[in-house]
Protein backbone atom coordinates (compact mmCIF):
# COMPACT_ATOMS: atom_id res chain seq x y z
CA UNK A 1 0.00 0.00 0.00
CA UNK A 2 1.29 3.43 -0.89
CA UNK A 3 2.54 5.57 1.98
CA UNK A 4 0.15 8.07 3.47
CA UNK A 5 2.98 10.56 3.89
CA UNK A 6 4.18 12.88 1.13
CA UNK A 7 7.20 14.85 2.17
CA UNK A 8 9.59 17.32 0.65
CA UNK A 9 12.62 18.55 2.57
CA UNK A 10 14.92 21.18 1.12
CA UNK A 11 18.19 22.31 2.69
CA UNK A 12 19.13 25.95 2.33
CA UNK A 13 22.49 26.36 4.04
CA UNK A 14 22.02 25.34 7.64
CA UNK A 15 18.23 25.59 7.52
CA UNK A 16 16.07 22.77 6.21
CA UNK A 17 12.50 23.51 5.19
CA UNK A 18 10.10 20.59 5.44
CA UNK A 19 6.64 20.25 3.93
CA UNK A 20 4.47 17.21 4.45
CA UNK A 21 1.00 16.17 3.37
CA UNK A 22 -0.49 13.25 5.24
CA UNK A 23 -3.47 11.27 4.07
CA UNK A 24 -5.77 10.63 7.03
CA UNK A 25 -9.52 11.07 7.57
CA UNK A 26 -8.98 12.98 10.86
CA UNK A 27 -12.55 12.32 11.99
CA UNK A 28 -13.26 14.43 15.03
CA UNK A 29 -15.98 12.20 16.43
CA UNK A 30 -18.50 15.06 16.33
CA UNK A 31 -19.77 14.62 12.80
CA UNK A 32 -22.84 12.56 11.89
CA UNK A 33 -23.18 10.56 8.72
CA UNK A 34 -26.12 10.63 6.29
CA UNK A 35 -28.04 8.19 8.50
CA UNK A 36 -27.58 10.38 11.58
CA UNK A 37 -25.00 8.16 13.26
CA UNK A 38 -21.88 9.67 14.77
CA UNK A 39 -18.75 8.91 12.75
CA UNK A 40 -16.37 7.62 15.44
CA UNK A 41 -13.22 9.63 16.20
CA UNK A 42 -10.26 8.60 14.06
CA UNK A 43 -7.35 11.00 14.10
CA UNK A 44 -3.57 11.17 14.33
CA UNK A 45 -2.50 11.65 17.91
CA UNK A 46 1.23 11.92 17.47
CA UNK A 47 3.36 12.98 14.53
CA UNK A 48 7.15 12.88 14.70
CA UNK A 49 9.91 14.09 12.39
CA UNK A 50 13.33 12.71 13.29
CA UNK A 51 16.82 13.59 12.12
CA UNK A 52 19.81 11.58 13.31
CA UNK A 53 17.61 9.85 15.85
CA UNK A 54 16.55 13.12 17.41
CA UNK A 55 12.99 14.51 17.14
CA UNK A 56 13.10 17.88 15.35
CA UNK A 57 9.32 18.26 15.24
CA UNK A 58 6.78 16.61 17.48
CA UNK A 59 3.05 17.18 17.21
CA UNK A 60 0.37 16.04 19.64
CA UNK A 61 -2.87 16.34 17.77
CA UNK A 62 -6.53 16.08 18.67
CA UNK A 63 -9.87 16.35 17.01
CA UNK A 64 -9.37 19.90 15.79
CA UNK A 65 -6.97 19.09 12.96
CA UNK A 66 -8.70 18.69 9.59
CA UNK A 67 -8.61 15.88 7.09
CA UNK A 68 -5.39 15.30 5.13
CA UNK A 69 -3.25 17.58 7.29
CA UNK A 70 -0.49 19.67 5.81
CA UNK A 71 2.56 20.57 7.88
CA UNK A 72 5.35 23.01 7.13
CA UNK A 73 8.29 23.87 9.36
CA UNK A 74 12.04 24.60 9.31
CA UNK A 75 14.86 23.33 11.49
CA UNK A 76 18.63 23.74 11.76
CA UNK A 77 21.45 21.27 11.89
CA UNK A 78 20.81 19.09 8.85
CA UNK A 79 22.30 19.06 5.39
CA UNK A 80 21.67 17.83 1.88
CA UNK A 81 21.57 14.06 1.63
CA UNK A 82 20.60 13.51 5.25
CA UNK A 83 17.69 11.28 6.14
CA UNK A 84 14.49 12.57 7.66
CA UNK A 85 12.19 10.01 9.28
CA UNK A 86 8.49 10.74 9.62
CA UNK A 87 6.03 8.64 11.59
CA UNK A 88 2.56 8.99 13.01
CA UNK A 89 0.29 7.10 15.41
CA UNK A 90 -3.46 7.52 15.52
CA UNK A 91 -6.07 6.93 18.22
CA UNK A 92 -6.83 3.48 16.84
CA UNK A 93 -3.19 2.47 17.20
CA UNK A 94 -2.51 2.51 13.46
CA UNK A 95 0.84 3.87 12.33
CA UNK A 96 2.76 4.80 9.22
CA UNK A 97 6.38 5.68 8.66
CA UNK A 98 8.45 6.96 5.81
CA UNK A 99 11.97 8.24 5.31
CA UNK A 100 12.88 11.03 2.93
CA UNK A 101 16.19 12.41 1.78
CA UNK A 102 16.81 16.09 2.32
CA UNK A 103 17.38 17.67 -1.08
Amino acid sequence: MASTIRVRATANGDTTEVQALIQHPMDSGFVKDAQGQIIPPHFIQQLTFEHNGKAVFLANWGAAVSKDPYVKFSFKGAGKGDDLKISWVDNKGATDTTTAKIQ
Binding site: R6, R8, Q19, L21, Q23, S66, K67, D68, Y70
Partner: protein
Protein backbone atom coordinates in the same frame (compact mmCIF):
# COMPACT_ATOMS: atom_id res chain seq x y z
CA UNK B 1 -60.50 73.45 -40.16
CA UNK B 2 -58.45 72.13 -42.98
CA UNK B 3 -55.26 72.62 -40.95
CA UNK B 4 -56.65 70.53 -38.18
CA UNK B 5 -57.67 67.84 -40.57
CA UNK B 6 -54.19 67.79 -42.02
CA UNK B 7 -52.64 67.68 -38.59
CA UNK B 8 -54.82 64.80 -37.44
CA UNK B 9 -54.10 62.82 -40.54
CA UNK B 10 -50.39 63.55 -40.14
CA UNK B 11 -50.43 62.33 -36.56
CA UNK B 12 -52.39 59.27 -37.61
CA UNK B 13 -49.87 58.59 -40.35
CA UNK B 14 -46.98 58.93 -37.93
CA UNK B 15 -48.66 56.62 -35.45
CA UNK B 16 -49.31 54.08 -38.15
CA UNK B 17 -45.69 54.30 -39.27
CA UNK B 18 -44.45 53.83 -35.73
CA UNK B 19 -46.68 50.80 -35.28
CA UNK B 20 -45.52 49.38 -38.57
CA UNK B 21 -41.89 49.86 -37.55
CA UNK B 22 -42.43 48.15 -34.23
CA UNK B 23 -44.33 45.37 -35.91
CA UNK B 24 -41.62 44.99 -38.51
CA UNK B 25 -38.84 44.70 -35.96
CA UNK B 26 -40.91 42.24 -33.97
CA UNK B 27 -41.60 40.17 -37.02
CA UNK B 28 -37.94 40.26 -38.01
CA UNK B 29 -36.36 37.33 -36.11
CA UNK B 30 -35.02 38.10 -32.59
CA UNK B 31 -31.27 38.82 -32.73
CA UNK B 32 -29.65 35.64 -34.00
CA UNK B 33 -27.35 34.41 -31.25
CA UNK B 34 -23.78 35.48 -31.93
CA UNK B 35 -21.54 33.46 -29.64
CA UNK B 36 -18.39 34.94 -31.14
CA UNK B 37 -19.50 38.46 -30.23
CA UNK B 38 -20.71 37.24 -26.84
CA UNK B 39 -17.35 35.68 -26.00
CA UNK B 40 -15.49 38.81 -27.06
CA UNK B 41 -17.77 41.04 -24.97
CA UNK B 42 -17.52 38.64 -22.04
CA UNK B 43 -13.74 38.58 -22.05
CA UNK B 44 -13.48 42.33 -22.58
CA UNK B 45 -15.78 42.98 -19.66
CA UNK B 46 -13.43 41.21 -17.25
CA UNK B 47 -10.11 42.32 -18.70
CA UNK B 48 -11.31 45.91 -18.57
CA UNK B 49 -12.72 45.57 -15.07
CA UNK B 50 -9.46 44.05 -13.81
CA UNK B 51 -6.71 45.57 -15.92
CA UNK B 52 -3.97 44.46 -13.50
CA UNK B 53 -4.87 40.77 -13.72
CA UNK B 54 -2.84 38.79 -16.27
CA UNK B 55 -5.13 37.21 -18.85
CA UNK B 56 -4.20 33.61 -17.98
CA UNK B 57 -4.63 34.29 -14.27
CA UNK B 58 -8.41 34.61 -14.53
CA UNK B 59 -8.64 30.82 -14.43
CA UNK B 60 -7.40 30.92 -10.86
CA UNK B 61 -10.68 32.30 -9.64
CA UNK B 62 -10.56 34.12 -6.32
CA UNK B 63 -6.75 34.01 -6.26
CA UNK B 64 -6.62 36.35 -9.23
CA UNK B 65 -8.75 38.78 -7.25
CA UNK B 66 -6.80 39.00 -4.01
CA UNK B 67 -3.03 39.25 -3.53
CA UNK B 68 -2.90 37.65 -0.11
CA UNK B 69 -5.00 34.70 -1.26
CA UNK B 70 -2.77 34.38 -4.33
CA UNK B 71 0.35 34.10 -2.22
CA UNK B 72 -1.21 31.48 0.03
CA UNK B 73 -2.39 29.53 -2.98
CA UNK B 74 1.05 29.59 -4.63
CA UNK B 75 2.47 28.07 -1.47
CA UNK B 76 -0.31 25.49 -1.39
CA UNK B 77 0.35 24.50 -5.00
CA UNK B 78 3.76 23.21 -3.95
CA UNK B 79 1.92 20.52 -2.07
CA UNK B 80 -1.61 20.61 -3.41
CA UNK B 81 -4.49 19.09 -1.43
CA UNK B 82 -5.84 17.46 -4.61
CA UNK B 83 -2.79 15.22 -4.89
CA UNK B 84 -4.50 12.21 -3.36
CA UNK B 85 -7.55 12.49 -5.61
CA UNK B 86 -5.30 12.97 -8.62
CA UNK B 87 -3.33 9.82 -7.86
CA UNK B 88 -6.51 7.87 -7.26
CA UNK B 89 -7.85 9.14 -10.58
CA UNK B 90 -4.72 8.10 -12.45
CA UNK B 91 -5.01 4.62 -11.02
CA UNK B 92 -8.72 4.39 -11.81
CA UNK B 93 -8.17 5.55 -15.37
CA UNK B 94 -5.58 2.87 -15.97
CA UNK B 95 -7.60 0.04 -14.41
CA UNK B 96 -9.46 -2.01 -17.03
CA UNK B 97 -13.18 -2.72 -16.79
CA UNK B 98 -14.44 -6.21 -16.13
CA UNK B 99 -14.65 -6.77 -19.89
CA UNK B 100 -10.98 -5.91 -20.35
CA UNK B 101 -11.47 -2.54 -22.02
CA UNK B 102 -10.30 0.76 -20.51
CA UNK B 103 -11.36 4.39 -20.42
CA UNK B 104 -8.68 5.09 -23.02
CA UNK B 105 -10.74 3.09 -25.53
CA UNK B 106 -13.66 5.52 -25.20
CA UNK B 107 -11.77 8.74 -25.79
CA UNK B 108 -9.74 10.37 -28.56
CA UNK B 109 -5.99 10.31 -27.98
CA UNK B 110 -6.52 7.63 -25.31
CA UNK B 111 -8.06 10.28 -23.07
CA UNK B 112 -4.85 12.27 -22.75
CA UNK B 113 -4.87 16.01 -23.03
CA UNK B 114 -8.47 16.33 -24.26
CA UNK B 115 -10.18 18.11 -21.35
CA UNK B 116 -10.23 21.43 -23.25
CA UNK B 117 -12.62 20.00 -25.85
CA UNK B 118 -15.40 19.39 -23.34
CA UNK B 119 -18.30 20.01 -23.35
CA UNK B 120 -19.04 19.42 -27.00
CA UNK B 121 -22.30 19.38 -28.93
CA UNK B 122 -23.24 15.90 -30.07
CA UNK B 123 -25.06 16.35 -33.36
CA UNK B 124 -26.36 12.79 -33.41
CA UNK B 125 -27.94 13.12 -29.98
CA UNK B 126 -28.74 16.80 -30.40
CA UNK B 127 -27.45 17.62 -26.91
CA UNK B 128 -24.40 18.88 -25.06
CA UNK B 129 -22.08 16.20 -23.74
CA UNK B 130 -19.85 17.04 -20.78
CA UNK B 131 -16.72 15.20 -19.67
CA UNK B 132 -18.50 13.73 -16.63
CA UNK B 133 -21.31 12.48 -18.82
CA UNK B 134 -18.87 10.99 -21.31
CA UNK B 135 -17.04 9.13 -18.55
CA UNK B 136 -20.21 7.55 -17.21
CA UNK B 137 -21.36 6.64 -20.70
CA UNK B 138 -18.01 4.94 -21.20
CA UNK B 139 -18.59 2.94 -18.05
CA UNK B 140 -22.13 1.96 -19.01
CA UNK B 141 -21.09 1.02 -22.54
CA UNK B 142 -18.61 -1.38 -20.97
CA UNK B 143 -21.02 -2.99 -18.53
CA UNK B 144 -20.02 -0.99 -15.47
CA UNK B 145 -22.34 0.88 -13.11
CA UNK B 146 -22.20 4.67 -13.52
CA UNK B 147 -20.56 6.76 -10.81
CA UNK B 148 -22.41 9.39 -8.83
CA UNK B 149 -21.79 12.79 -10.40
CA UNK B 150 -21.14 14.40 -7.06
CA UNK B 151 -18.90 11.91 -5.31
CA UNK B 152 -15.20 11.10 -5.08
CA UNK B 153 -14.72 8.67 -7.98
CA UNK B 154 -16.01 11.03 -10.67
CA UNK B 155 -14.00 13.85 -9.13
CA UNK B 156 -10.83 11.75 -9.14
CA UNK B 157 -11.29 10.70 -12.78
CA UNK B 158 -11.97 14.21 -14.04
CA UNK B 159 -9.05 15.49 -11.92
CA UNK B 160 -6.72 13.15 -13.75
CA UNK B 161 -8.07 14.08 -17.17
CA UNK B 162 -7.78 17.77 -16.35
CA UNK B 163 -4.23 17.27 -15.17
CA UNK B 164 -3.10 15.67 -18.43
CA UNK B 165 -4.54 18.71 -20.22
CA UNK B 166 -3.03 21.40 -18.05
CA UNK B 167 -2.01 24.44 -20.03
CA UNK B 168 -4.08 23.51 -23.09
CA UNK B 169 -6.29 26.35 -24.20
CA UNK B 170 -10.06 25.93 -23.79
CA UNK B 171 -11.37 25.06 -27.24
CA UNK B 172 -15.13 24.66 -27.29
CA UNK B 173 -16.86 24.41 -30.64
CA UNK B 174 -20.39 25.41 -31.55
CA UNK B 175 -21.24 23.65 -34.82
CA UNK B 176 -23.42 25.41 -37.37
CA UNK B 177 -26.50 23.66 -36.04
CA UNK B 178 -29.55 25.54 -34.70
CA UNK B 179 -29.79 23.03 -31.86
CA UNK B 180 -26.24 23.79 -30.78
CA UNK B 181 -26.97 27.50 -30.84
CA UNK B 182 -30.10 26.87 -28.83
CA UNK B 183 -28.15 24.90 -26.23
CA UNK B 184 -25.64 27.74 -26.04
CA UNK B 185 -28.45 30.29 -25.62
CA UNK B 186 -30.11 28.14 -22.97
CA UNK B 187 -26.87 28.05 -21.06
CA UNK B 188 -26.45 31.78 -21.38
CA UNK B 189 -30.00 32.37 -20.19
CA UNK B 190 -29.52 30.03 -17.25
CA UNK B 191 -26.38 31.90 -16.24
CA UNK B 192 -28.09 35.28 -16.13
CA UNK B 193 -31.47 34.18 -14.68
CA UNK B 194 -32.15 34.92 -11.05
CA UNK B 195 -33.21 31.95 -8.97
CA UNK B 196 -33.77 30.83 -5.41
CA UNK B 197 -35.35 32.78 -2.59
CA UNK B 198 -32.20 34.89 -2.42
CA UNK B 199 -32.91 35.92 -6.02
CA UNK B 200 -29.31 35.55 -7.23
CA UNK B 201 -28.25 34.63 -10.71
CA UNK B 202 -24.80 33.20 -11.40
CA UNK B 203 -24.02 36.65 -12.76
CA UNK B 204 -25.00 38.38 -9.52
CA UNK B 205 -21.92 36.93 -7.84
CA UNK B 206 -19.56 36.19 -10.70
CA UNK B 207 -20.18 39.13 -13.02
CA UNK B 208 -21.32 41.87 -10.68
CA UNK B 209 -19.16 41.06 -7.70
CA UNK B 210 -15.92 39.19 -8.47
CA UNK B 211 -13.24 40.10 -5.95
CA UNK B 212 -15.91 41.10 -3.43
CA UNK B 213 -16.83 38.96 -0.46
CA UNK B 214 -19.86 36.83 0.12
CA UNK B 215 -19.73 36.13 3.81
CA UNK B 216 -16.07 35.14 4.27
CA UNK B 217 -15.35 34.01 0.71
CA UNK B 218 -13.85 36.03 -2.10
CA UNK B 219 -15.88 35.62 -5.28
CA UNK B 220 -14.32 34.32 -8.49
CA UNK B 221 -14.84 36.00 -11.86
CA UNK B 222 -17.05 34.08 -14.28
CA UNK B 223 -14.31 34.25 -16.92
CA UNK B 224 -12.48 30.93 -16.87
CA UNK B 225 -14.48 29.59 -13.96
CA UNK B 226 -14.72 26.14 -15.54
CA UNK B 227 -11.01 25.92 -16.32
CA UNK B 228 -9.94 24.79 -12.87
CA UNK B 229 -12.58 22.08 -12.44
CA UNK B 230 -12.72 19.72 -10.67
CA UNK B 231 -11.70 21.45 -7.47
CA UNK B 232 -10.56 20.44 -4.03
CA UNK B 233 -12.51 22.76 -1.79
CA UNK B 234 -11.28 23.25 1.75
CA UNK B 235 -14.89 23.80 2.69
CA UNK B 236 -15.71 20.29 1.51
CA UNK B 237 -12.43 18.79 2.70
CA UNK B 238 -12.62 16.85 -0.53
CA UNK B 239 -12.55 16.94 -4.29
CA UNK B 240 -15.74 18.09 -6.01
CA UNK B 241 -17.05 17.84 -9.54
CA UNK B 242 -18.63 20.51 -11.73
CA UNK B 243 -22.00 18.88 -11.02
CA UNK B 244 -21.44 19.21 -7.30
CA UNK B 245 -20.56 22.87 -7.61
CA UNK B 246 -23.61 23.72 -9.72
CA UNK B 247 -25.90 21.96 -7.27
CA UNK B 248 -24.41 23.55 -4.18
CA UNK B 249 -24.45 27.01 -5.77
CA UNK B 250 -28.17 26.44 -6.42
CA UNK B 251 -28.95 25.41 -2.88
CA UNK B 252 -26.91 28.30 -1.53
CA UNK B 253 -29.29 30.71 -3.23
CA UNK B 254 -32.13 28.63 -1.72
CA UNK B 255 -33.07 27.14 -5.07
CA UNK B 256 -33.83 23.44 -5.17
CA UNK B 257 -30.94 21.97 -7.22
CA UNK B 258 -31.71 20.22 -10.50
CA UNK B 259 -30.57 16.68 -11.21
CA UNK B 260 -26.85 16.37 -12.00
CA UNK B 261 -26.20 16.56 -15.73
CA UNK B 262 -29.69 17.89 -16.40
CA UNK B 263 -30.02 19.90 -19.62
CA UNK B 264 -29.70 23.25 -17.88
CA UNK B 265 -26.43 22.30 -16.19
CA UNK B 266 -24.96 20.83 -19.36
CA UNK B 267 -25.94 23.93 -21.30
CA UNK B 268 -24.57 26.40 -18.76
CA UNK B 269 -21.28 24.47 -18.68
CA UNK B 270 -21.26 24.72 -22.49
CA UNK B 271 -21.82 28.48 -22.39
CA UNK B 272 -19.26 29.18 -19.66
CA UNK B 273 -16.63 27.02 -21.29
CA UNK B 274 -17.18 28.56 -24.70
CA UNK B 275 -16.81 32.17 -23.52
CA UNK B 276 -13.52 31.15 -21.88
CA UNK B 277 -12.04 29.87 -25.14
CA UNK B 278 -8.35 30.72 -25.27
CA UNK B 279 -7.81 30.50 -21.53
CA UNK B 280 -5.65 27.61 -20.25
CA UNK B 281 -6.94 24.57 -18.41
CA UNK B 282 -5.68 24.89 -14.85
CA UNK B 283 -7.45 21.90 -13.28
CA UNK B 284 -7.54 20.14 -10.98
CA UNK B 285 -7.83 23.16 -8.75
CA UNK B 286 -7.74 23.98 -5.06
CA UNK B 287 -10.16 26.49 -3.63
CA UNK B 288 -11.00 27.82 -0.16
Amino acid sequence: MRVRAILTSAVAALAAAALACAAASAIAAPDRPDPVADAKAFQNFFTRKFPKVKYEDFVNGPYSMNEDLHRQWEEKEQFPPYEFALEAGKEMFATPFKNGKTYADCFPNKGNGIRQNYPYFDEKEGKVVTLELALNRCREANGEAPYSYVKDEMAALTAYMAFTSRGNKMDIKIPDDPRALEAYENGKRYFYTRRGQLNFSCATCHVQSPGERIRAEILAPALGIMNAMPIYRSEWSSMGTTSRRFMTCNSQTRAVPLEPQSDEYRDVEYFLSYVANGLPISGPGARP
